[in-house]
Structure formats: C-alpha cells, structure tokens
C-alpha cells in the first residue's frame, strides 16, 4: 500500500472523528502556537534593537563615559583627575589604530535667543566627526568643519526641531542666533532623524532633532572657559566589529595611563552589550522554548492516549486488512500516517494561532512580530516529530496483532 493511499485512508478517518481529532490536536496546536508567537516577538525585538543602533553608529561604536568612583573615601589622586578631556580623545585617535572616528562631546545649558524667542537649552560642543558617527547629515547648509574648530568660529548647526523652535517658518541659514549674548551664525540645518518602535508614535531619535551644535573649541573659549577641556563622553568608531574587543582594550589602556592609573571612566562596547543582551534573552527564549516543548510533549501523550483508547474499535479493521493481505509494516505505516496527519493538522492550526497571538501581543506592546518561513518549517517539523514519536507505540502494537484474533474481536 502506497503512502498516498495511507494518507487517503487516514484523512477519511480524521474526518470521521472530528471531535477526537480536535482533542488530539489541541496540545500540538497550543505548543506550536506558543513557540511561533514567542519566537516571532523575540526575533523582531532583536532586529529592531540592531536597526535602532544602526541609526547612530551601529555596532562598531565604542563609548567612553565618565564614571567617577563610588567609593566614600576618595584618594588624592582620584580627586586630582579631571575626568575625560579633549586631549584623551586626541590620544585615542593617535594611539588606537582601529579607531576610525573619534568624537568628544561636551554639553552646556545656555540661554538661546532669536527675536521674541528666549529660553535655556543644552548646547552641544561637537567635532566634525559627529556627523559621521551618528550618520547625521545636513539637509541644508553644512555641518561643522575643521576650520570652525581651529578658529573657534561663532557658527552653529541646528537640528530640525530646534530650527523650527527658534526660527518658526523663517529660513535659519545665515541668521544670527544669540547664545549667552554671543552671536552665532547658523550655517546648517540637519535632516530629521526618526525611528519608531513598532506601531508607537514616539520618535525614539527626537532628541537628535532638538540639538544645537557649536564647535567644541568655541564652547570652551566662549562659554565654559574650561582650561582642562573636559568632555562628557567620547564616541569612537572602530573599523570592523570584529576589532571591537581589541579596540576597547586599547582605549581603556590609553585613558587609564593618561588618568594616572585611575579608572574613573567606563568603556562601553556596543557589540558586547548587544551580545550580553542576546545572552540574557536566551534565558527567556529557553524558558519559552521549554514550555513550548512541554506542551508539545503533553500534546503527544494525549495523541498516544487517544490512539490507544480508540485502538479497540480498530482491532477488527486491522484483522480485515490483514486478511486482505496487509503486512505488519502496512498496518504500522497506516497508523503512523494517521498520527502524523493529526499532528500536522494541529501544527498548521497552531501556526495560524501563533501568528494571531503574536499580532495581539505586538499590538499590546507596540512591537511588530516577525513570522519567518523558517519558523513555519520548524513548527511543522516539530509536529511531525511528535506524531512520529508518539504514534510509534500504537502503530507497532497494531502491526503485531494476530489476524485470527483480530478478526474474532468483537
């Protein structure tokens, strides 16, 4: 008897026992459903995080930030350290070969005035590298250039929202913005940056559109008068993701040496962060995977139970088939095909249910779900495995029935 014919007979049997089939498939439906839903959400979460990071530096970015000691008793040497400075950034650029871009940043809250508008805002002292680090480019005019740095120029570049805020509908280019009583010429307006997680309407990158940039040197010279040229943080872009750990170690060594051995800073390796987060996620993934597998197992046990419970009513059928010339293997294949049919039906329904689950959850938490072909294949493969495994015992039992006794069975 061919597989095709076994499937035809199996389908007839499945159709004839709709309630039984439904009960059999329930466990598999829920198992595959939860696996698919969870996997879809987790996958999309990972993708979104990577995409979000790509918007400002990607995975090759290493961040060096001030991290003052939390110890209560602070040594004199620690007190003497100025924290991160512009010269630290210059040292990194010179001494770390994998560092492609080095972008020190300092911010200061200053009074901004144009026409009737007057308010205090954070002003960012940046270097020309900033644009490349954040993949943030001017829509009109230009960004800061090396000349601006050298001449401590009184020029500024505005984010899209900042430009609207200060100038309303006027064209800001060439206008003079008054920052703490000093006139700064607007030389550029940046393109808008936008990133939305899921269906949410919160622009996760709006802070970039609100920026007001001046040359870092101008910030020191005109406003803070900081002789140490301290910075809040230094962005470093590394040539290749693979070189991140090497570069991070080199940066740590350079800065620590310059800080007289004091670790009052932290080197944050973004690729490392993402990897750690993926590792944490793996724990959750494993929990969901295990719960999915348990429901599949329970589903399989239910299938085997129901197959064994309905075994009696099929003994005679097995006897008849054997009398007609069915070999043990024919009977075993027929039973296996039926249990696999049941689980595959369950798996397919579960897949649909998983997609619906994922959609509902993604609407609730505002994060899109990604259902991949690979997951569909895994779901169906898992169902087949369950059907095969738990159908095996009833199938072997049926195949071994003695035809004489099976025919006599009432």
């Amino acid at each position: 008897m061919t597989l095709r014919e076994s499937i035809i007979d199996g389908l007839a049997d499945v159709r004839a026992h709709k309630l039984r089939t439904f009960l059999q498939t329930l466990g598999v439906i829920l198992g595959v459903g939860s696996l698919v839903a969870v996997q879809g959400l987790v996958d999309s979460g990972r993708r979104q995080a990577t995409k979000f990071f790509d918007e400002f530096g990607g995975l090759t970015k290493i961040l060096v930030v001030n991290r003052p000691s939390k110890e209560i008793v602070v040594t004199a040497r620690q007190l003497a350290s100025n924290g991160l400075t512009w010269s630290d950034a210059l040292a990194i650029r010179q001494e770390v070969p994998n560092a492609v871009l080095v972008d020190p940043i300092a911010t200061e809250e200053l009074n901004i005035r144009y026409g009737d508008y007057e308010r205090r805002h954070d002003v960012t002292g940046a270097t020309p590298d900033y644009a490349s680090v954040y993949k943030f480019y001017p829509a009109r005019g230009r960004f800061l250039i090396p000349d601006d740095m050298e001449s401590q120029a009184r020029v500024c570049v505005l984010g899209d929202t900042a430009a609207r805020r200060y100038f309303g509908n006027e064209d800001p280019i060439g206008k003079i913005l008054t920052i703490d009583e000093a006139g700064f010429k607007v030389v550029g307006v940046m393109k808008r940056k936008e990133f939305y997680f899921g269906e949410g309407d919160h622009n996760a990158l709006e802070w970039m559109n609100e920026q007001t940039f001046v040359p870092l040197t101008s910030l020191y010279a005109r406003f803070t008068g900081d002789e140490f040229k301290r910075v809040q943080y230094i962005n470093v872009i590394v040539d290749k993701v693979e070189n991140n750990p090497k570069a991070a170690a080199a940066i740590r060594a350079v800065v620590q040496r310059r800080h007289a051995g004091i670790v009052d800073f932290e080197v944050v390796n973004r690729a490392e962060r993402l990897r750690q987060r993926a590792e944490q996620n793996q724990v959750f993934n494993a929990v969901f995977l295990v719960s999915g597998i348990i429901s599949l197992l329970v589903g399989g046990i239910v299938i085997m139970n129901i197959m064994l419970a309905s075994f009696r009513e099929r003994i005679r059928e097995v006897g008849v088939r054997k009398a007609m010339g069915a070999r043990g293997i024919d009977i075993a294949i027929q039973f296996l095909v039926e249990s696999i049919l049941v689980t595959v039906i369950g798996g397919a329904v579960g897949l649909g249910l998983g997609v619906v689950f994922a959609q509902i959850i993604s609407n609730l938490i505002g994060q899109p779900a990604v259902i991949t072909v690979q997951m569909a294949i895994i779901g169906v493969a898992a169902s087949v495995t369950v059907g095969l495994f738990f159908g095996l015992y009833p199938a072997i039992k049926a195949s071994r029935l003695n035809p004489v006794e099976a025919l006599r069975y009432e």
Binding site: A16, K322, A323
Partner: protein, 239 residues
Amino acid sequence: MPVVPAVPDADPVQPIIRLEDVHKIYGSGEDEVRALRGISLSLDPGAYVAIMGPSGSGKSTLMHILGCLDVPTEGEYILAGTPISQMSPRALARERNKRVGFVFQSFNLLPRSNLARNVELPLLYAGVGRAERRERAHSALHKVGLAERAKALPSQLSGGQRQRVAIARALVNDPSIVLADEPTGNLDSKTGQEILALFAELHGQGHTVILVTHDPQVASRAGEVIRIVDGKVSNGGQP
C-alpha cells in the same frame, strides 16, 4: 513428515488444495488444546465444497489454515502448488493477498470507505496501480450488481448488498479460492438464498468456493460436504 513435491507432470489435474495430516495444537502442557488432529484432504480446482461441523469441532481452525491466516503445528498445506506450512507472517500475508478471497459472516467492510474503496483493498496491498484498481473494482462490483453504487458507504446498504460487496472484494484479486465463513449467518433466508445463488454462479464460472457453515441447508448447496468432528474429517472427504 514427507513433503510431497508439486510435480505437474505426475498428475494431470493439480489439486488446488492439499492437506496432509494437518495438526493444530494451541497452548502447551495442561492447557494444550488439539484443535485439529490429522486432517488430510485434497480439492480440485473449480470445486464447490462445504465444511460442516458443530462449534468446537475445529472447522474454524481449519478455515484459518486454509485461508493462510494461521499455519499448522504439524503437517503440510499446499495451496495452488505452494507449500504454506513454514511461511513467515509476511509471506503468509502475500499468499492471502494473492490466492484467498475472504467472505465473512459479519461482512467486515470498512465503514468509512466507500464501496469502490472497500473492493479495492486487496489490490492496494498487492501494489496495483490506481487506474487498474479502479477498473477491476468496478468490474467486480458489476459482477455482484452494485456497480452503480460504487460511491456509497456500507452503512447505506442492506445486509444482502453488503455481503455482495464483500464477495466482490473477495473476487477482485482473482484468487485461487473463495473462502466464505457462514456467509448467510447474518442474513434473512430469502437474502441468504440470493447470496448462495451468487456462490453457485461463481462456481459455475470456474471459481473454487469453500463454504464454512453449521447449517445443513446451506451445506446442501455445495457439491461436496466435508464434516469435521473433534478435529478430524468424519466422512473421509465424501459427501
């Protein structure tokens, strides 16, 4: 036990069935049951035979052996020139499929399959292709007058019709013997007569038909009656 080889030249008419001193013993020790105690018989092709006997006489056991559902404990069974006694379950399944058409008292049709599918069953296990299966199932159903109901389910049929379908199924593989176990036992007498008439017709067409029954009226329709008592042939194969 000497095995008599099937040599076509030695005998102008090769018997379709030959049993030589067949014993069947179930269980062992104190539980031992000797169902058959040395049965020898020979049937020519085209015979129409009734096997009669009270319950417990061993006639069911004999039928199981004749139908290749079981093998003798001792003795030799040769069906259409093929020795059966030493066969594995797998080989027995093949012999049943090729050489035996079963008709049961309770019809034993598959309830969820239509008539055509039921009749096709032996062909499925013989590995016959779809088109040929269809054609042969149709012609077998035609023989029993149910060709136009091929798509019906067994539950939509009367008892007599169901037995006709079972007979069609028994014939579809063109078997050496048709083995009917109390084929009229579940039918009223008029329908039973129709079924017996059908068997007579098959006999007329040259089929070898073996009826197993306890009903003398049914047995009287056969050309030959073999009486089984206490696991032995009591009339020596004569009517």
